[in-house]
């Protein structure tokens, strides 16, 4: 095989393998970010909160980055006085709080997002 052919072949392989590899490794790298927990809000019909169960430790500061993926959502965690307000589609909001009690606390979507809006709930677990 001639050099130009080898180069072209290498380039094609680099594209076909490199693009997915780059995408997934960048995402994996972001997930390792220890400072904040990434939460995606979707309507109940499309899977609801992801993750729907968030586990944190009592007394340690919690930082949530909440992304509204399909339509506009809200985020409310009344037990710790957290209310992010409306989060427009495609945007994210960051909330911070320090849980001072252990237990399981529900969080809700606060902006009507679908007929099943009232069912869009998740749980914050605070370990002692």
């Amino acid at each position: 095989m001639k050099r130009v052919e080898r180069t072209a072949f290498a380039l094609v392989l680099a594209i076909l393998i490199g693009v997915p590899a780059a995408v997934f490794s960048y995402q994996a790298l972001r997930d390792r970010e220890p400072r904040e927990i990434f939460v995606v809000a979707r309507t109940v019909e499309h899977g609801g909160w992801s993750p729907a169960r968030i586990v944190v430790r009592r007394g340690q500061k919690v930082r949530l980055r909440i992304l509204a993926e399909d339509v506009t959502h809200g985020f409310q965690l009344l037990h710790f006085g957290v209310n992010a307000g409306a989060i427009k589609t495609g945007t994210a909001k960051v909330v911070e709080f320090t849980p001072d009690r252990a237990g399981e606390f529900p969080f809700y979507c606060s902006v009507r997002c679908s007929p099943l809006h009232m069912a869009l709930m998740g749980t914050l677990v605070v370990e002692p």
């Binding site: 130009v4 995606v40 399909d70 994210a92």
Partner: protein, 604 residues
């Protein structure tokens, strides 16, 4: 006499234009305060159309019936968020006569980009004046003189010739597109299901389609085919080479079945694509599967059959490009056919230094139309006599070539015109019901929509076209020309107008939605990334005031081109000049009516 009439018509049109123009500078005093209760619900405003007088101030009291929406007025910088359960008041001053379009500005679901409503500010003279101009253009175009057939060979510019004859050049065009293609398929498969936030839908149906329709097709015809990544892997595998000329093909090299040696397979694919247009263009997964499916079919046909059978007979986009490329001002042809007659090798068709023509075209045998030429420049590399020219030429030159006109091409031209009209109604119109019908929200509704759509593009429009052909023959004195032949021939006259209509439609879809492009560049999969810091850009295109002017100009230019082409076609089909002069009138009237229909839809 004729010249004087044309002059008078031109004066009238200019007068109308002046009237319209002055309307833009007069600020009527003491307009009313108009209050409009407006409810929003996926994916329509109700009422979708509000009519007021120039000078009025319209205050909308907006309430959402389902989820969060937005309300923004195109080109005005007015933008409000409408949360459910809360009324929002927005005031829009309606200073000028014309149409003001408002749209949802908070992504609310798949059809969000097409959730629009309109304020018609009276006295709206756009359709009247535009229609008058269309008539004048129609009149002038059917009377005017013929034009020159000058060509200018671009290959006389040495650097271009050098570039086009380098083997790696085509690969260099394909490689970046393959990169985009890979990301599109990946984003569609694993990225967010929200179309407006996914690289696949935005890059295919906004960026690629916009560039294709607004620039590539009108300027360079099928040039996209030379850089398309979809058939590339199959072609490389079948040739067993990516760049070099290899003599050891890998595929089975069967001949394509004779029965299918036409554009009907592409017609079928295109019909499905436009019927499900609203689904395909808004769902990332569907977009990805479509592209992947096309690539797989291309791979299979490359391994089984000879040459680029997929691009020649199967690709739905190829059918569209083929028909419109005839209007493009660029052509690849033999420079001197006498040299070709002396030539023994026929390397452009059989292959030589370069591959044989992938679509079975024969430049040396007098290939006269762009329809099936992919501009891949293999013939340029193959020809031992350096006898090919890549020429600039008048727009629409191939539409006048009688040899090779076929029913399949004619039907694609009709389908494309009908689709431009149907998609303008569905995507740009304020009618929410047809959007939800077309969105597969219920089977009976979708069947109704399908009946309506197919009835329009496959029955009503072709029937009108047939009637035009019949009237034209009758007006010309009922000569013995077969009506079927006129039906096919006249369809080529529709092509410039329908391309212009697609451009006008595409402008209205692309301009207000441009800001999605930087957004998905930063966050291609909708996973919350921010690669370039542009993920929350909400910048909108401000000079949207030029949009109606651009649409009007495009449609009038298209109309002009169509009637000019129509004149030549009628003349050559009906024989003598006097019969042809009478025979062109029904066709011109049909074209003016179509142009006017688009004008009222966009501006009325």
């Amino acid at each position: 006499m004729r010249g004087r009439l044309a002059g008078i018509a031109l004066l009238v049109a200019l007068g109308g234009g002046f009237l319209l123009f002055t309307g833009f500078f007069v600020h009527p005093q003491g307009g009313r305060e108009v209050e409009v209760p407006l409810t929003v619900q996926k994916f329509a405003f109700s009422p979708g159309r509000v009519t007021v007088e120039a000078g009025d101030r319209v205050t909308f009291r907006i309430r959402s019936l389902d989820i969060t929406h937005g309300f923004s007025v195109e080109g005005r910088g007015i933008d409000a968020t409408v949360l459910p359960g809360r009324e929002v008041r927005v005031t829009v001053p309606a200073e000028h006569a014309g149409k003001i379009r408002y749209r949802c500005s908070v992504i609310c679901g798949p059809l969000h980009p097409f959730m629009v409503g309109e304020i018609v500010v009276r006295p709206n003279r756009w359709p009247l004046w535009g229609g008058g101009l269309a008539l004048v253009i129609g009149f002038l175009a059917s009377a005017g003189a013929s034009r020159s057939a000058a060509r200018r060979d671009l290959l006389s510019w040495r650097p271009l010739r050098w570039l086009l004859t380098r083997r790696p050049f085509q690969f260099a065009l394909i490689a970046p597109n393959l990169l985009a293609f890979t990301l599109i398929v990946l984003a569609g498969l694993v990225g967010t299901a929200t179309g407006a936030m996914n690289f696949s839908t935005i890059f295919v149906w906004l960026a690629w389609w916009g560039l294709l329709v607004l620039f590539l097709i009108p300027l360079a015809g099928r040039a996209w085919c030379a850089m398309c990544p979809i058939p590339a892997p199959g072609e490389w595998l079948a040739r067993r080479a990516i760049v070099e000329r290899s003599e050891r093909p890998f595929g089975l090299g069967w001949a394509w079945p004779k029965r299918l040696q036409n554009l009907w397979p592409a017609f079928g694919g295109l019909l499905l694509l436009v019927l499900f247009g609203l689904i395909v263009t808004t769902r990332p997964l569907v977009t990805a599967l479509l592209l992947l499916g096309l690539a797989l079919v291309a791979l299979a046909t490359h391994l089984l059959f000879e040459r680029r059978v997929f691009c020649r007979y199967l690709c739905p986009v190829g059918g569209l490009l083929g028909v419109y490329s005839m209007a493009a001002p660029l052509e690849l042809r033999a420079r001197d056919l006498d040299v070709c007659r002396e030539c023994r090798e026929k390397a452009c068709f059989r292959g030589g230094e370069g591959y044989p023509c992938p679509t079975f075209q024969f430049p040396g045998g007098g290939m006269a139309r762009n329809t099936y030429c992919l501009l891949c420049a293999e013939c340029l590399k193959a020809c031992p006599y350096d006898n090919l020219a890549l020429s600039l030429r008048p727009f629409g030159a191939d539409l006048l070539v009688a040899r090779g006109r076929r029913a399949d091409e004619a039907w694609i031209a009709l389908l494309l015109l009908g689709t431009a009209l149907a998609h303008s109604v569905i995507k740009l119109g304020p009618w929410g019901w047809i959007k939800s019908w077309a969105n597969l929200e219920g089977t009976p509704e979708f069947l109704l929509y399908a009946t309506l759509f197919l009835g329009t593009v496959l029955v009503a429009l072709p029937a009108l076209h047939l009637l035009t052909a019949w009237l034209s023959r009758w007006a010309a004195g009922g000569s013995g020309v077969r009506i079927g032949r006129l039906f096919v021939d006249y369809a080529y006259a529709l092509i410039p107008l329908s391309l212009a209509a697609w451009m006008a439609f595409t402008l209205a879809v692309v301009l207000p939605n441009l800001s999605y492009i930087p957004r998905v560049l930063s966050d291609p999969l909708g996973w919350g990334w921010d690669l370039f810091g542009t993920r929350e850009v909400t910048w909108t295109w401000v000079p949207l005031g030029v949009l109606p002017w651009a649409q009007l100009a495009l449609l009038l230019v298209g109309l002009w081109g169509s009637i000019r082409v129509g004149r030549s076609i009628v003349g050559e089909a009906l024989g003598d000049a006097r019969a042809a002069r009478r025979g062109v009138a029904p066709l011109a009237a049909f074209l003016v009516a179509i142009a006017w229909a688009f004008l009222t839809l966009y501006l009325g």
